[in-house]
């Protein structure tokens, strides 16, 4: 099954699909970041794969990884199909200069929060995300704590409560209310 997904994607997307490897029994496929949204949409909708759950989205900063060459950040999408019961991890590599990647928040409902977390903690920008703001850290927080150059001892003074009315306005608009 694992090799199949790589071949399926390869025939559909060609050289957008870079490489595949197996890490501790799980397939990881590296793809190019521009077409990540289409690739994941294909994995979700194609009857062969039907990856209907996004389990997690892991953003990684490789700044201090030993002997690291290549883009600084990686994002790993952990997908699973409840139908075929197989898992696949999709990886994209993101350079610091081009830190924007397409959002998949339209494909999976929980991607909204997961992308917000990746933005909050590592500073990845997701293009097309409806509401890309911090989620775990305070809204006045400066910097991205899970970046390797953020010192663990740095403290910040955060005081002002968030009103949440920006999100509420959006939600009410979706529900048909006007200002």
């Amino acid at each position: 099954m694992s090799l199949d997904i790589f071949q399926l994607l390869k025939t559909r997307f060609g050289d957008q699909i870079l490489e595949s490897q197996i890490r501790f029994g799980q397939t990881e496929i590296e793809v190019s970041p521009e077409s990540i949204a289409q690739i994941i949409e294909h994995l979700l909708t194609s009857p062969e794969t039907q990856m209907n759950q996004l389990l997690d989205l892991v953003a990684i900063d490789y700044l201090q990884y030993p002997n690291w060459h290549g883009p600084r950040f990686s994002i790993v999408y952990l997908l699973r199909s409840l139908i075929s019961k197989c898992r696949v991890n999709i990886r994209i590599r993101v350079a610091e200069e081009s830190i924007s990647v397409p959002s998949i928040s339209k494909l999976y409902k929980n991607a909204n929060w997961l992308e917000r977390e990746a933005f909050d903690q590592v500073g990845i920008r997701f293009l097309g995300h409806p509401n890309l703001k911090r989620i775990l850290n305070h809204h006045e927080f400066i910097g991205h704590p899970l970046r390797k150059d953020y010192p663990i001892t740095r403290r910040q003074w955060l005081s002002e409560n968030e009103s949440l009315m920006d999100e509420m306005a959006m939600r009410l608009k979706e529900k048909g209310y006007t200002l």
């Binding site: 890490r23 501790f24 799980q26 209907n52 759950q53 996004l54 389990l55 997690d56 892991v58 990684i60 900063d61 201090q64 990884y65 030993p66 790993v76 952990l78 409840l82 019961k85 991890n89 999976y108 409902k109 929980n110 909204n112 929060w113 903690q121 911090r134 989620i135 775990l136 850290n137 305070h138 704590p145 899970l146 663990i152 409560n161 968030e162 009103s163 949440l164 009315m165 920006d166 999100e167 509420m168 306005a169 939600r171 009410l172 979706e174 529900k175 048909g176 209310y177 006007t178 200002l179």
Partner: protein
Amino acid sequence: MTNPLNPENYEATGLEFQAENTQSNLTFVNLGPSHPATHGTLRALCALEGETIVAAVTEIGYLHRGFEKDAEVHTYQQVIPYTDRLNYVSAIMNNVGWCKAIERMLEITIPPRAVYIRVLTSELNRIIDHLVCVGANLVDIGGLSNFWYTFNVREKVYDILEKLCGARLTSSYMRLGGVAHDLYEGFENDLKVVLKEIWQSVKQFSKLNNNKIFLNRTRNICVVPKEMAIAYGWTGPTLRASGINYDLRKEEPYYCYPDLEFEVPVGTIGDIYDRIFVRMLEIEESIHMIEQLLKKIPTGPVFTEDKRVALPPKTQTYGNIEGLMNHFKLIIHGVCPDQGEIYDVTESANGELGFYVISDGGKNPYRVKCRPPCFMNFAAYHEMIEGHLIADAIANLGSINIIAGELDR
């Protein structure tokens, strides 16, 4: 007209949104962050029309303490006590999740007795997690007496755990390579007595099924259809309550689960009632499982002999140079897995608990990402409560079992 988006205005003047058709005013109410019924620090801002929630948004992060950043400056063993604080209601299951991931990374197999003890204590933790969830949920609905049926037996399980590992909640009972120490003498008898009591309390508890008020409060309230549960990445009892038979203990079995006979309870429509009763039935299944485990548990060591994680016996440490070096390497440098990345999962009480761990070959994990199951549950909360009453929102919050320690990490 003042701008309602300005936080200074909305509290003073509020009610600036108008419904398109009805022209009625909306009231904004903050549920939480510190409200007795949120059982933690969660906040939901609700727009009300009368007593009905028409729109809601949620905010989390009040208990964020940087678990993932902390893990990067601790050794692999030192992370274990931190995992206790994730889902602090079933701490041992988090210990198991972490240790299993790192052991897979190191390619260590732990002795069969250790496996059985891990599964046994995990199932015991699943029982108390569900008891807390259901008991607290019913308090929120207004049934205080039920609380004592669940919490009394939970206390007795904690007595056993305290005898076993010295702590009630934050047990840190697991170690990389096995468990901290063997079961104490008389554990089996203590456990059998408590299991009987749990069984009785579950039976008494199930009489709720005849309680009209309970049924009215929970049936067809905050229904989560299959599609929505899948799209939000739900796992565990909440997913099963929505009618999807998926349990990692069956689908991707680990440890000794294939040797055990148990059923996976599945709900029908995914309302609060289903979520409560899937948990109740899981308690019964866990009791069956523990009974089987007690019969099957093998004798033998509870710790691997692999020198990468196990301290040598004291005779070795004081008797020869290899033992001494081994001891010091483990204490000073800790466990050093080879470079690599792993995502490993266990079925915790709330659902799929995953750890994505990256090793750079050093003594500290390079990066840890914890997948807390209730993060996905709470992501759906606003959508679940819209269209329902405030009282239903409270009842629903208990049914998806949000543990802030795990949600905010």
